[in-house]
Structure formats: C-alpha cells, structure tokens
Assembly symmetry: C2
Homo-oligomer: 331 residues x 2
C-alpha cells in the first residue's frame, strides 16, 4: 500500500471511529467546498454517524440542488452552543480558511484534513492532502470507496459537482484522465451533467447582465486587434446597482474574440481601486506583465490591482502591454 | 460477437481492403464531422493507404488546430478530376448531406457509412450506424481499436474534438459514462482539454460581440420575471454588419438568468422573417409552445420561424406564452 492509499484508509477509519462530527469547508464556499462537505455528510449518514455541517456564512443559493443543502448551518445567523471532539475539514488549505467555525473545536479535537491545495499546511491530526488531485471531491471518491460506502445518485452528484466546478467544466489543465474516469463512474449513478453545469457554471445574475451590457459598450480592439479590453467604472457599478461579484468573467469576452491574443478588463468596483485582469491565448505571457504591474498569476491568466484614477491606470497598463506585444496602443 | 462489434470489424476491414479512398463528412461541417473525417485520415495514413479528404465547401477556420486540416479539399474552389471506388462518409445521415461531393463517386463504388444520427438511411454498402453514440467520433474510437491503429496525440485530438463538440462540452444528455471513459483515454495521449474547448466552444467573432451588445440593450424580464427575452432586428444586423450565424446562443443569456424559467430570442436576420428560439429550465415545456406556433424541438430547447413584422410576431408569441406560464405579459 502506497502512502496515498494509507492516508485514504486512515481517513476512512477516522469516519468509522468517531460518533459525532463537525463537518466544514472554507469561507465563501465554491462548488468543490460545498459538494465535498455534503458528500462527507452523506457518507456519515450511511455509516450511521451524527453530524453538524457548518459554514461561517451563507452558502450560495445556486448550490441548493445538492442533497442536504438545507442542513448547512450558517454560523453568522445561528450561533451554536456545542464544541466538537471530531472535525472533518474539506478543501481548506489552512485553519484561517475556516473562519469562525474554528471556535467550535473542543480542545484537543481530532481533526481530519482532506484537501488538494499545494499550500496545505497539514493542520489536521489526520491529513489526507493530495495536490495532484483536481478537486477535494476527487479525493473524497477514494475515501468513499475505502470506507465501504455505497455510491448512489445523491453522493455521486456531490462529488461530480466538485469535479465539474474545480476543473472549470472539464477545461482547466487539471482535467486529468483520472478526473474523467471518476466522472464516467458518477454519471453511471444517474447524475445529469447538463443540469449540474446549468446550475453551477451557466447561471448568471440579472445584475451581471446589466454590468455586461454596460461593459460591452466600452469594448475596444487595439494594438492591431491583438488586444481587446473592457472597462467597468465605479459609476457603472453605482448606476446599475451591482456588486463586485457581478463583474466576474468579463475578461473572457475579450480573450475569446477570434484573432485576439490578450483580453484585459479594468474593473473599478471601489472608486480609485482598479482590478486589472488579463487572459492570454498563445503568444503573450500575462504573468510577466502582471508581475511588472505588481500583481501575479499564470501565463494565460493573471492580474493586478492598481490604485488611482481609471484613465491613469489604463495608461500605465497600456505602456507595459505595448512592449509585451511589440505594437503601440492605436486607438 | 454482437452485431455492433461485427459492424465495427467490418468497417475496420473496409479500410484495410481498399487502397485509395475518398473521405468526406457533411456540408457546413461541425466539430464532430471535421474531427471524424480527419481522424479517418490519420487512421488511413497509419494503414499505409492513399486518400483525398473533401468537403463541398469551406471548413470553419477555427478547426485549423486539427492535424491534416490543410489537406481538406474545398470542392467549390478546386474541382477534382477523379472518381473514387472506395468512399468513407462520416457523420452523414443520408447522401444529400454530402452535397456535391457525391459527384466524385465511381459507379458501383464501395461506400462505408459511419454515423450516429437516428435518421440515418443506411446508404452505404457497409453501414456502421449507432444512434446510441453521442458522436460519430465515439464510434471511430472503436474502429481505430479494431483496425489495430495505434493511438497518439493527433488521433486522440481528432476524436476528442468530436466528443467535446457533439456533447456541448460534456453537458448535453448524450454525455454517457462511455463518452467520459473514452475522453479519459484520449486525455492520456496528451490532449489539452482547455485548448480544444477554447478553440471549439469559447471563440466568438467580433460581429457576435457587436450583435450581443445591441441585443442586451433589448433584454427584458416579463411575466413576473419568469421570462427573459432579447431581440435582434433586421436593422441591427444591417447596422452592425453581422450575419445570421453571429446571433447564435443569444437565447442562453436569457435562460441563464437566475429565477428565469423561459428564455426567448427574436432574431430577424432577414427582414420580416423572425426566428424565435426558446430555452426552458424546469417548469415549462417549450416544445409544446413551439408546436402551437408551427415549430418544434425538445422540452428544454425549441423554436419556430414566423413571418411578419417583428412586433406582431412578438405579440403572437407572448399570447401563447401567457397561457403556458399562467401569467400575463406585464411590461
């Protein structure tokens, strides 16, 4: 048995050994956090265990198609007068990611840490950390098998949701053969891939549409059509009544235009603070550009936050981009 | 050996028995047609065969990342003075789908028909037709195995492209466990899922963005926010300089808004001819509505074409939709 398999066995044993659990994921939970936490909950139910599943705050309503969503405890709304001797944390790189849920740990609590972040600091008493996994849900699949839990549509749905969301709909480079093999197994239990994608990846807010509508008015091609950019000002946010989250994904409209090498979005959710997001196709490394501007990221997806009036920030970014693509701003 | 396996063997034998082939797919080729045709080409190369791969017209440039794309013959641009005794047709439900490429068949030509359309009329001398397959590329995977061809990144890329595009990025209901298993195998040969999705599913034209920009100005919620609709008039098309194809997918912006049950787009690409597209979430069957309006489709995706002035067409559609959602048009 290799170390990975041993850690999986140990995690399964952890679930079998204790009787009552606190189950948690991270603040601002995404699809993998929520799917994995509720997946653990379903496993515990099958094992005849008791649990409370808690988040510091609210879980996005779009995940309400997941089984046991109504069991998710919002600590901000309902204080809990209990401390737990057995805790299962999923998708948390470190304890700070748990927020105030840490206050529910009994002193000396046994703590199972299941996660796939490379930065995980092994905060658990039992640690099942696999940075090679695309999602925490991928690891959970193995734990479920090791724990002798039987798969059904509900458990499959939780795990599938984690896989789908953390791979960007099976598109990010972490989409390994193993991810697809597990997805194949899960579909076999009756998961409807279109329904999950619709809820997790396709749903948008009306506020997003309103921001998009304004942003597209500003879309411009420059640098001999190699760069497409889009801008949302603080005034736009105020007039439309949108939040920062409603402006997500705008930069993709720029990068996806045929012939464009770099997409850039300038989003001023707070007056005088501009988030610059960049997406590249093949010929430009935007991580290098973001670094020059005080930010960071990957070759194809990077960004930075610059303070100052919108037009000055744009000027600063164009100067760096002029050099990167070897063509001057032309519009 | 079951009948399916026998047909697969027969198809493999067809490739082995002949020496020079005409390879073709259908007019207006999509990702499955192009990926499958070029997949056949790579198989024939490995088997030491000669071939000409032909389309009636042009293949969309976005597929130029596929191997041997430059070998695709455009019959409209370059007439061919050859007839072929061995033909392999992929993804064609009947001979009419081939367009003028039929003129290249020698009389009494041997014809291998590989397809997954339920309406396929078995036009071949050898027919490998499997309506249960999500894509023709899925069938081709089996033929490659039966023909003893060795998989590599190029062949895997062709087949993966067919699977990805015909399942809408692994989201349509035809995304079976088998599709995901094959995708897992193909990723193992080095296919980059993000690159393929970027080229096949995410790329948009600048004209599309311009149409979208206008269309979003018309977006309205009605029927107590249960219906979202969007309109592109003939004047919009003319002023923006867009073609009908540039208005694809607009209806999804409507359906994807949270809380919306039915998305509707009115697209008047030609003056006085309005294409009405409808997408539903859970509570409404748009196939029934489309049928009442003289069109058709599925419960979640349907449409019709109505002649008349835009405002009259909209009035007609609202009347039917009022009944379907049990709420009157309110805006």
């Amino acid at each position: 048995m290799n170390p990975n398999q041993m850690a999986v066995q140990e995690a399964a044993r952890f679930m079998q050994e204790h009787d009552r659990f606190l189950v948690l994921s991270h603040v601002s939970p995404d699809g993998d956090a929520t799917g994995s936490a509720l997946g653990v909950v379903l496993m515990l139910e099958q094992l005849g265990k008791e649990y409370v599943v808690v988040n510091e705050g609210e879980t996005p309503i779009k995940f309400n198609f997941l089984p046991r969503f109504d069991r998710l405890y919002n600590l901000r709304k309902q204080p809990l007068n209990e401390t737990f001797g057995a805790v299962i944390a999923v998708d948390c790189a470190d304890e700070s990611r748990m927020g105030d849920v840490r206050s529910l740990f009994a002193s000396g609590a046994a703590l199972l840490n299941i996660d796939h972040h490379p930065t995980n600091d092994h905060f658990g008493t039992v640690n099942l950390v696999r940075p090679d996994a695309a999602a925490t849900a991928e690891i959970l699949f193995d734990v479920a098998e090791a724990a002798g839990v039987s798969f059904n549509e509900e458990l499959a749905l939780c795990i599938y949701t984690g896989l789908l969301t953390d791979t960007g709909g099976f598109r990010y480079s972490n989409t390994s053969p193993r991810v697809m093999e597990i997805a194949a197994r899960l579909l076999g239990y009756g998961v409807k891939p279109g329904d999950v994608a619709e809820r997790c990846l396709e749903e948008i807010t009306f506020a997003h549409v309103k921001v998009l509508r304004r942003a597209l008015q500003t879309l411009q091609l420059s640098h001999q059509n190699l760069i497409a950019s889009i801008t949302v000002s603080a005034a736009d946010f105020a007039e439309v009544g949108a939040e920062r989250e409603d402006a997500g994904g705008l930069v993709n409209y720029c990068r996806n235009i045929e012939g464009v090498e770099v997409g850039v979005s300038f989003v001023e959710a707070e007056p005088g603070v501009v988030k610059v997001s960049m997406r590249a196709r093949d010929r430009v490394d935007v991580a290098v550009i973001a670094k020059q501007l005080g930010g960071g990221g990957h070759a194809k997806a990077a960004g930075c936050t610059i303070k100052g009036p919108l037009s000055e920030v744009q000027q600063k970014v164009w100067t760096v981009l002029d050099d990167a693509v070897g063509v001057k701003f032309d519009e």
